[in-house]
């Protein structure tokens, strides 16, 4: 969905500044030269990732989704269609653009070897291989098929998983399958804190 705001209307008469330099148009109602930065953006509906009020937001991205455009977020503001926030946002929600665009965002997998004093970058492939190997070693070492009384328990107590409160239901459902596939019982989220 693309906004149909035209920038023509409000840029009309942009040349008055030159005239006034020579003092002939003293009270010129100078046109606003600043362009509306969301005049030609693509809008996507999303939900604020912070607290659980669940405010809807509209993400304005650069470009019209054409093949040769890499979208970038130029602005995020409240979605007026949401009965919850009706377009409003709090101070954190109002700064979401920075969340997406922050230069502190992680963009490459990093690896810290045992005893190392620094990160080093690692490829996804190498990272996945290593992680899968570690998980298997741990599971093979810790998997309990039977408990001390000989009852089938099929559990894994030496591997724990946490998180989820910032992820979607669907990702959490997948995490749940991952968890139960491994037999993990130690599984917690922010609700406990």
């Amino acid at each position: 969905m693309t906004t149909d705001l035209s920038r023509r209307g409000f840029l009309a008469g942009g040349g008055t500044a030159a005239v006034t330099t020579f003092g002939f148009n003293l009270e010129a109602a100078t046109a606003v030269a600043k362009e509306l930065k969301i005049a030609r953006t693509t809008q996507t509906h999303s939900v604020c990732p912070y607290c659980a009020v669940g405010c809807s937001v509209v993400i304005h991205t650069l470009g019209d989704k054409a093949r040769n455009v890499k979208p970038a977020v130029v602005h995020i503001e409240g979605d007026p269609e949401s009965p919850i926030n009706r377009g409003t946002l709090c101070s954190k929600g109002a700064s979401l653009k920075e969340f997406v665009n922050s230069d502190l965002r992680l963009t490459r997998p990093k690896y810290r070897a045992p005893g190392a004093a620094d990160w080093k970058e690692i490829s996804w492939e190498e990272a996945f291989e290593k992680m899968a190997r570690r998980m298997k070693e741990t599971r093979d070492a810790g998997f309990e098929e039977k408990d001390s009384q000989g009852r089938t328990v099929n559990r894994l107590a030496n591997l724990a998983m946490i998180g989820g409160c910032t992820d979607t239901n669907e990702v959490n459902y997948l995490l749940g399958k991952f968890r139960f596939g491994l037999g993990v019982l130690g599984y917690e989220n922010q609700a406990r804190l």
Binding site: T21, F22, G23
Partner: protein, 207 residues
């Protein structure tokens, strides 16, 4: 006969004062009224004017300071000057009979000196306040916005008279500030006391 009136140094200082004054005055006028903002266009645009006007004023104040230190002692008003001033109405209508004789500077010139110096001081102080509106106290700025234009009006007014006198009203005056000398006739006519002093000195030194 030529009589030296201002030496090179004095003339330099005077013209530095004059140029910086004119620049400060014009750039100031540009920022004083929207009707005169066109001057800013002539002087390189509003931002340039805003940036350089305080510097022009600062140079003006500095060289005026030099001029002041050089001339202040000569500008003391004596009894004759006061009498001259009291009778200055006659001077204005070119009916100078009965007016006391002037020295190197007449009472009017001395007054102009003091008045312009006082205005310059006010301009400099109030100008400094207005230069940095983001840091100077508001109450000072509120005073300065009044003092600065008033002092400017006064000093420009004075200078208009000064220019008129030197260029038109008293022919031959300009040479004193350009080439440094005046004719004996001129000196005798406008500053007889000074003329006598000078000729006496010359006679004495000639003797």
């Amino acid at each position: 006969m030529k009589i030296d009136r201002f030496n090179v140094r004095e003339r330099f200082v005077h013209w530095l004062v004059a140029i910086s004054f004119v620049y400060a005055a014009l750039s100031g006028l540009a920022m004083w009224s929207r009707h005169l903002f066109w001057i800013a266009g002539v002087l390189g645009g509003g931002e340039t004017v805003r940036a350089l006007h305080p510097w022009g004023g600062t140079i003006f104040a500095l060289v005026l300071g030099v001029m002041f230190s050089r001339w202040a002692s000569q500008m003391k008003l004596d009894a004759a000057d006061r009498e001259w001033l009291a009778k200055s109405g006659r001077y204005m209508v070119n009916d100078e009979k009965g007016m006391p004789e002037s020295g190197k500077f007449n009472g009017g010139q001395k007054m102009l000196f003091w008045v312009e110096a006082a205005f310059a001081l006010l301009l400099f102080l109030s100008g400094a306040i207005l230069w940095f509106p983001e840091i100077t106290p508001r109450v000072l700025r509120l005073g300065a916005v009044l003092v600065h234009p008033l002092a400017a009006i006064g000093s420009i007014g004075g200078i208009i008279v000064h220019i008129y006198m030197s260029l038109f009203a008293v022919p031959g005056s300009l040479k004193a500030m350009t080439e440094g000398y005046v004719s004996a006739r001129w000196a005798k006519a406008h500053h007889p006391k000074w003329f006598r002093q000078r000729t006496k000195n010359e006679n004495e030194s000639a003797r």
